[in-house]
């Protein structure tokens, strides 16, 4: 379960002054739900997810992630989440197996527990063939699978995906979407950020349209359609974030 309360993040920029990257965002996401964050580049999606994963400290506001307070219990929050982003790289000089084990160690997994979890994720994501290969030598799709393995290795109840399919081919993207869908069916609480309309439409139970750090609308796809009077998500999105622009 995630409850976000009026989360704000301001950055100080030499040229632009104070930048309101996230400005008073509130929502909640329940177990077994995929909550989509839909926004253009620079809308504030990544900053929001970085705050929810404790990488960034909010300027104000807070959130409850897996029953833990984001501000007061960041350590427990980190133990309860898996975070995957398209920009997150692997360590080039570690093999896929070493990388997964390293992450397991960071999460406190040791010995038989670690090996059991490693075996599970390696089998689940079919990493076995390149388990002993250096991450540097993996294809983009293979790297993405190793990243997924890293994300779920400690079996977290909450998962954050920040544009996980960017740069992937159709098959790899599909595999990831299927993977996320399976996690949903396992009852995980999932926040999925994307700027690809079709992904949000097909994968997310509810969509939060975010623009300039603020929430433009939240709801199921049908609700957003009804609210805007549009039929396609792209048109819905444009009419929400830029009402003056002709969606056609």
């Amino acid at each position: 379960m995630i409850e976000v309360h009026d989360l704000v993040k301001h950055f100080r920029d030499g040229k632009r002054g104070v930048v309101k990257a996230v400005d008073g965002v509130s929502f909640e996401c329940r177990p077994g739900e995929i909550f989509g964050l839909l926004g253009a580049n620079g809308a504030g999606k990544t900053t929001l997810l970085r705050m929810l994963s404790t990488v960034l400290t909010p300027t104000s506001g807070t959130a409850i992630v897996a029953d833990y307070d984001l501000i007061r219990q960041p350590g427990q929050v980190r133990r309860s989440i898996g975070f995957m982003s398209s920009t997150t790289a692997l360590y080039a000089r570690l093999t896929a197996g070493e990388f997964i084990r390293y992450i397991g160690n960071l999460y406190g997994l040791r010995g038989a527990d670690l090996e059991r979890r490693v075996k599970y994720v390696v089998d689940l994501l079919e990493i076995g063939d390149y388990h002993d290969r250096l991450c540097d030598k993996l294809s983009t799709g293979e790297k993405q699978r190793v990243s997924l393995a890293r994300t779920i290795l400690h079996d977290p109840p909450v998962l954050f995906f920040d544009e996980p399919t960017v740069g992937l081919d159709v098959f790899a993207s599909r595999k990831i979407r299927e993977f996320i869908q399976e996690r949903k069916e396992q009852g995980k609480t999932i926040v999925f950020s994307t700027h690809i309309m079709s992904e949000a439409e097909h994968l997310c139970d509810r969509i939060c349209v975010i623009h300039d750090g603020r929430i433009a609308a939240i709801g199921k796809f049908e609700e957003l359609k009804a609210k805007t009077g549009e039929t396609h998500l792209e048109r819905v999105f444009i009419s929400l974030v830029s009402p003056t622009e002709d969606p056609a």
């Binding site: 950055f11 970085r50 404790t54 427990q76 000089r93 992450i103 160690n105 960071l106 406190g108």
Partner: protein
């Protein structure tokens, strides 16, 4: 702080697979040290050998009395030049180290005991020319003394009455140096340099590189505190710097132990390093390594990317190089024993290392140097950790 060891172990594993590090921290210091010792051994041997100095002589028939004396020492190779040769040109063209020019009538005036003059043309820009001049002077001076004594005796006088005093030199019974003066001069510089440059090749990767690649986020979302991440990276970097120092020292020790002819004069007393000297080396080098590792990590954390790291490190190199270079020559200056040197970072460590290699330990200098080193190491580590905790620094790319 739990979890730092995981980070340390992972960094070390990556380092072992980084070929750059193999060269910069392991093979480089070892190879360079061996090369420097061989080079210095050769230089020392060349300068110390009773080698023949090539002398060019104009009007050799007149100079026979002098040339006979020089020839008897077997230290000179004498070659004649034609009477109208230009001695300056001969030296410029490196035909010899000195030109001896005897005027007409020199032999006759010598026989007549008229103290005739002859000229030595020397190239002051060439050390070998100056050394040859001293060798000729020494022969001439010995001949003069012997002649004076002989002539005094001819007068039935005791020649000892004409000596105002007699000077005899004795080597002080103090510590035996680890190596020759030359090597003791340059070794502290090299150890300090390797403490700094040992981790140079990987420091960019350590934080700035992770920012650039995006792998840092993986660490930041893991349940490990940021000070623990910084400490894990710091210990890995410090270990690499220490390995570079040890590797450099190992090169010296190996060369001292194997005792090949070319280096024999450099290590006349074998591996003569006292336990106290080893202790002094450890307590001063270790804080320096920690200080450097903390500083380098702080730079890598502060920088946006690897290119920026290289820019900062180029500037920082000068801060390290200047006192390190000065430390090589401190033995020739009047400040070698000054107390204030113990308070100057890097220079103080190099001075204590120099003393340790001379098998001397100045407790004041050692204590202050170690204390300054520990203080700086703490500041370096603290700065690195503080920067690592600053979101605005860590997240800027």
């Amino acid at each position: 702080m739990s979890g730092w060891f995981c980070v340390f172990r992972k960094e070390m594993r990556e380092f072992t697979r980084d070929r750059r590090l193999f060269f910069s921290a392991l093979l480089g210091p070892l190879f360079l040290e061996v090369m420097i010792i061989l080079l210095f051994g050769y230089l020392d041997l060349s300068l110390s050998e009773e080698k023949s100095h090539k002398l060019l002589v104009i009007n050799a028939t007149e100079g026979a009395p002098v040339l006979d004396l020089l020839d008897m020492t077997h230290r000179f190779e004498i070659r004649n030049l034609s009477k109208n040769s230009n001695p300056d040109d001969a030296l410029r063209n490196k035909k010899g180290r000195l030109v001896l020019q005897f005027p007409d009538g020199f032999a006759r005036r010598y026989q007549a005991r008229e103290a005739p003059e002859f000229y030595v043309i020397v190239d002051r820009s060439e050390t070998t020319s100056m050394i040859a001049l001293e060798a000729v002077r020494s022969v001439v001076e010995t001949a003069r003394t012997e002649t004076v004594r002989a002539r005094i005796r001819e007068l039935d006088l005791d020649d000892k009455q004409f000596d105002p005093f007699v000077l005899r030199a004795r080597e002080a019974e103090i510590s035996q140096p680890f190596a020759s003066e030359w090597l003791v001069g340059i070794l502290p510089y090299l150890i300090v340099i390797w403490a700094f440059y040992g981790g140079f090749s990987i420091v960019g990767d350590l934080v700035a590189g992770e920012k650039e690649r995006g792998s840092l986020e993986t660490l930041l979302v893991a349940p490990i505190s940021r000070p623990a991440i910084a400490f894990g990276k710091f210990t890995a970097l410090a270990s690499v710097s220490l390995v570079a120092c040890i590797s450099a020292l190992a090169g010296v020790i190996v060369m001292a132990l194997i005792r090949i002819p070319i280096t024999e004069r450099l290590f006349q007393h074998g591996l003569a390093l006292s336990g106290l000297s080893v202790f002094a080396l450890i307590v001063t080098v270790l804080p320096l390594v920690i200080f450097f590792a903390g500083t380098l990590l702080a730079v890598s954390t502060f920088a946006r990317n690897q290119r920026e790291v290289q820019g900062y490190l180029s500037l920082l190199s000068f801060v390290v190089l200047v006192p390190a270079v000065f430390s090589q020559f401190i033995g020739y200056t009047g400040v070698a024993g000054a107390k204030w040197i113990a308070f100057v970072p890097i220079l103080n460590t190099a001075t204590v290392i120099r003393d340790a290699l001379l098998n001397r330990v100045d407790w004041f200098s050692l204590t202050v140097t170690a204390s300054v080193g520990i203080l700086l190491a703490a500041v370096g580590l603290f700065t690195a950790v503080r920067l690592f905790m600053k979101e605005s620094v860590l997240m800027r790319v």
